[in-house]
Amino acid sequence: MPLSGPYADEGADQLRAYELVVEHLNGQGDGGMIGTFSSKTLDGTGILGKKVAFVSGDTQTKADAARATAKSMIEKDGAIMITGGSSSSEAVAVQGLCQEAGIIFMAGLTHANDTTGKDRKANGFRHFFNCYMSAAALAPVLEKQYGKERRAYHLTADYNWGWSQQLAISQATEAMGWATVENVLTPLASTDFSAYIAPVLNSGADVLFLNHYGGNMVNSLTAAVQFGLRDKQVNGKQMEIVVPLYSELMAQGAGENIRGILGSSNWSWQLQDAGTQAFVKSFGTKYGFPPSQAAHTCYAQALLYADAANRAGTFNPCAIVEALEGYAFDGLGNGPTVYRADDHQCFKDVLVMRGKEAPANKFDVLELVEVTPVAQVTYAPDHPQFAGGELGTCNPGA
């Protein structure tokens, strides 16, 4: 996970989750979501009776560093499963490596469609949601909140994830009758977005999509609010801003600017199901603050791998692939979930969130607007946004 670079805070939270899940797998602590997980193969005695140990490395939020770190773990530390990462470029790079090496890869924070689309691999699995799912969950809420006739302007981070997110959102909103006025690509290294925000004011658009993540999102949103976009009336309608992918850690950085802004999330510590409650209690007691969705997806991925190995009765990667493909489970905080065999993507409910108007504390930045049912975010494995990839065959390794 990235312990340096722009996503280092996400990486630190992921590391906390891995430390916690290893404790739970080895029978320490309160067991967290092991107690709520629908599968009952995990009993605190490790995996297949073996105590779980792990090594961690800094991926620096860079694909090449992530690949080098994972390679070192496989070759020097003898890792039999790799998990983590905080960006899609890292995920795609490490997933490719794990496929070549015959190691299972349980992806961490990766949202681009390509991870389980054109770059999908038989040895790789993604629990986190993707750009298509964000768009499918958000579009009906946007229609309900802002109406059918809207003109959208996109500011899009100029790299794989940004293009993927913009395409998904524009297709979903155009399908419900919105027009896309403009899509402007912004350099990933941009820090001041004022020059990109100014043209929005005179474009005739009444909704601005910020297809940005991390520091880009914080800075572009801050500039948009500073330039009075949220107070502006266009076409007789209130101008609105939407951030398709939320990160609660980043939302804290945007401060008051995030208030009232809609976006999507994979999971939230505010959910009331038993799995979430158990995880939040466990994590919050140990670390003193609620877990992020990055921590949640990593914790869930580690449990799913452990359970799959137990059910398969072996650490053979191909047996674990078989155990995970098509596997339906519950109790891990997202409701009933399925690991689809066709692309190794988890299908589960998606959350639509909004920046909270009156936060009670610094963690209380987002509020739940809607839990979008899984059926609404499910797509065919050969959907055009995911085309061009093949899982191939599982590599059992040495």
Binding site: L185, T191, Y196, P199, T222, Q226, K232
Partner: protein, 343 residues
Amino acid sequence: MDALLLQVLNGLDKGSAYALIALGLTLIFGTLGVVNFAHGALFMIGAFCAVILNGLFRMGFETLDPTVLDFLGNPTKVTTTYIETWFGPELGAALIDWTVPLSLLLTVPVMVLIGYVMERGLIKHFYKRPHADQILVTFGLAIVLQEVIKAFFGANPIPTPAPEAFQGSFDFGVWLGFEVNAIIYPWWRMVYFVFSLIIIGAVFAFLQFTTFGMVVRAGMADRETVGLLGINIDRRFTLMFGLAAAVAGVAGAMYGPINSPNYHMGMDFLVLSFVVVVVGGMGSLPGAVLAGFLLGIVESFASLNEVKSIMPGIDQIIIYLIAIGILLTRPRGLMGRRGVMEE
């Protein structure tokens, strides 16, 4: 027309930051002959002075509020700040609200001290070394400084809002006779632009109208001769390093409301600021300021959709294209001294 004017304004506030950083870089290069790659880190540390002051203002004692529960169902901890207790709720809240401007009082001495320590403790050992050595050591120092900040404050941006009186935007277009809502401009960006002009003016006045400044300018022109006159030019140059650090620091402290401070913000500005220095002319203070504003405006115009539709990606490379053009046709930059970078 209104869109173009808005881009000019955007360019000016971006250019303000470039100009202030480039001004400090030029001061250091002009006096000490050092290429200081840690200058962006000084801008970042300045921004974190505002963050630190905000943290200090928000320090207080905690009481439990049983009526509000935290995420684990325990009574919430409510913090009452010391300054609200000492100065009353109204003055205490006002101090917190005005953290960013007030942080200048902290930033200036802290940055002068950091600059002094940096120069005496590290940089002075590299005066007679090649520029490549200076770049390596100052770049390394920049990385160390940003990692230290990250260790204490994390990697994510930290919101540092402007005082409430300067939040939001105003209708600049109406002042110029345009229709309502044609040119909306944020208050704080205007404040930043005016602030940068004041700082730039103050630095020039200091160098132009004080004896100290006169000696420094003489030292920049001919260090050896000034030394032969019995003037301790090294001590003055050390203080200029502190001044340059303070200029970068106050530029960073006031920049927080425009972009929330993060540990990496210095690096984001560093390369562009060096390009500004090269375009303006190595060692030329007016050149650094002029190039800062010019390149800020050019960058803004290159971000216009109309321009990008003709030349996609031009916004990412325009500044570097200009730098290449300048280096090929006028290596001493817009206002550089004849002979500098031309031998």
